[in-house]
């Protein structure tokens, strides 16, 4: 009986000592908790920026619409003709109001003025197989188009003839 108690006492004492030891499993559990904490912090912070990015996108969408309308309405100084109409004339008329080299320069200036920082603009005018386009900043790659505004401009001539020119404006992140 005494021997049995001693054996039982040793067994109980050993298991208590074992619980108090900081083993590999405990270290792993603590390390895992730290990793979980860091990961959750990063996820929370990354996720919280999503609504702000969406709000920025909504602003850029609004700016795209306004840039399109500005090109359609604002006159090329000192002429009394809008930027979009002048571009359409390049496509349709043999003697346009504004020569192509001057218009390209003026277009570049206005795109520089209206373009949001960190973005580029590509505008293309297309009539049947002819097209005329300009990109700002020059030589930038617009493959990742973020915002597009499409429309048409109708040019009427004497005698009831008219032509429809397709316009595409792309605003892209640089």
């Amino acid at each position: 009986m005494d021997g049995g108690k001693v054996i039982a006492g040793k067994t109980q004492g050993d298991s208590v000592d074992g619980l108090n030891k900081l083993g590999a499993a405990d270290v792993l559990a603590i390390a895992f908790m730290f990793i979980l904490l860091i990961a959750s912090t990063m996820i929370i912070h990354a996720y919280s920026f999503l609504p702000l990015n969406s709000a920025m996108d909504r602003q850029i969408e609004l700016k795209t619409e306004h840039i399109y309308k500005t090109l359609e309405l604002a006159h090329v100084y000192p002429y009394a003709i809008s930027y979009s109409r002048a571009a359409c004339e390049i496509l349709l008329l043999s003697t346009p109001t504004i020569a192509e080299n001057i218009l390209r320069l003026r277009f570049f200036e206005i795109l520089e003025f209206v373009c949001p920082s960190g973005y580029g603009i590509y505008v293309n005018f297309c009539h049947e197989n002819n097209s005329w386009g300009i990109i700002y900043p020059e030589g930038s790659n617009f493959s990742e188009t973020q915002f597009t505004k499409k429309g048409t401009i109708t040019l009427a001539a004497a005698g009831g003839a008219y032509a429809i020119v397709k316009v595409e404006l792309h605003l892209f992140k640089l």
Binding site: T41, H45, P51, L52, H66, T70, A74, Y77, A80, S82
Partner: protein
């Protein structure tokens, strides 16, 4: 209490404090971002209303020219707005370009505060000036009143 128990307790306390700080920081950041998103949407709403309604040029036939602004109207518009039961104020200015030169009109409205977040937005439009439609930018800075 031996060294290992002290260490375990310390690590547990450290983890708990870190978790509480993370949650508090995330909550604070969420509130800031929510305010900024709200301000951004309100500024978009205000500037759209200005370019399509309140600042628009009216031609001699009485028709409103949307996206064409008339700078003379800047003095008569209210700079306080109530949107979604919150009060906002804004300051406005107009930039326009003739050839390579940039000019500005304004500012109109109260000065933005230094102790509250503000949101600035500018959109392009056409400016009616002396019989010409010039490329321009309308800029507003919005803050919560």
């Amino acid at each position: 209490m031996d060294f290992k128990q002290v260490l375990t307790t310390l690590i547990t306390v450290l983890l708990t404090i870190s978790l509480i700080l993370t949650i508090a920081s995330a909550y604070k950041q969420q509130r800031t971002i929510s305010t900024l998103v709200n301000l951004s949407d309100v500024s978009s709403s205000i500037i759209t209303r200005l370019t399509t309604e309140e600042m628009t040029f009216v031609d001699p036939s009485g028709e409103k020219q949307v996206y064409v602004i008339d700078a003379d109207k800047a003095k008569s518009i209210p700079f306080k707005r109530t949107i979604g039961s919150y009060d906002f104020e804004f300051q406005m200015s107009i930039l326009y370009r003739i050839e390579n030169y940039e000019f500005s009109i304004g500012t109109f409205g109260p000065a933005p505060p230094n102790d509250r977040p503000t949101c600035s937005i500018d959109v392009s439009c056409a400016l009616w000036m002396e019989g010409r439609l010039l490329p321009a930018k309308l800029r507003v800075i919005v803050w919560m009143d």
